[in-house]
Symmetry: D2
Subunit: 81 residues, 4 copies
């Protein structure tokens, strides 16, 4: 059993208005020193077996098919722990 993390973020050239809203709201709440915030998704995928290379390749295919829209989003896959 292993946990694999898939991070999905909008591609850098795609605007993230809600992330920008968070960045803009920070000074009003007393937070300074933040130049940008971007919001994405994080998936925790629990595997029945070990996170070997074959399993990670499966998760990469899952990410391409189900978790990310690769037209507008980038993803990365990594083993946790």
């Amino acid at each position: 059993m292993a946990r694999v993390i898939v991070d999905v973020m909008l591609k850098p050239e795609i605007l993230d208005p809600q992330g920008q809203a968070i960045a803009r709201a920070l000074p009003r709440l007393g937070f300074s020193g933040v130049s940008a915030v971007r919001q994405g998704k994080r998936f925790e995928v629990e595997l029945d077996g070990p996170a070997d290379e074959a399993a990670l390749e499966e998760v990469r295919k899952m990410a391409e098919t189900l978790l990310a829209n690769t037209v507008i989003e980038d993803f990365s896959v990594r083993v946790e722990g």
Copy 2:
């Protein structure tokens, strides 16, 4: 300049129906070996200065105030790279 990552996930006892839908859809797409999927949020926070302990403490406060709803979500803060 540094990048801090804030991961926000529903607390383990809170149901995640859309993550479950993804897990249930996998076998129909030819993916096996996944027992559970949970979906959360990932924020990338760009700092003007270094990610020292004071800055991380600020980001933790931001997470509590703006990025996570701590009644239903847990968060973790870490420096990337």
Copy 3:
């Protein structure tokens, strides 16, 4: 063929920090007159057949099972058009 809309919002007593961030960012962008913003989800469900009472009851069950987490979210179902 019919389209049914399922709106899912956090229950009123559950804090929505990202909606609040949007509300707080508005004055800095020159928008006034907004007292609150809440963010939820909207699902568009395309039916093979008509949106009769039996079909809507099915969509309500889908919403309870897959689209909303009824511990923290309320939902409403309606026919579009």
Copy 4:
């Protein structure tokens, strides 16, 4: 005081993999008769004043600036009630 609803959906030509996952998971849960599901966002915006034409025009500008990414998303604005 009035409530304005902003619906934000991915443009029709942009793939929605998580909506598709929900559609694919339905038969395994005993639901039939659904051909597609798309997931978007719904914002509830509370105005201090009435939802007159000037206020709605402000909300439309807010939607373009903060609530939707008009490169990949369409939005609609309407008064509730």
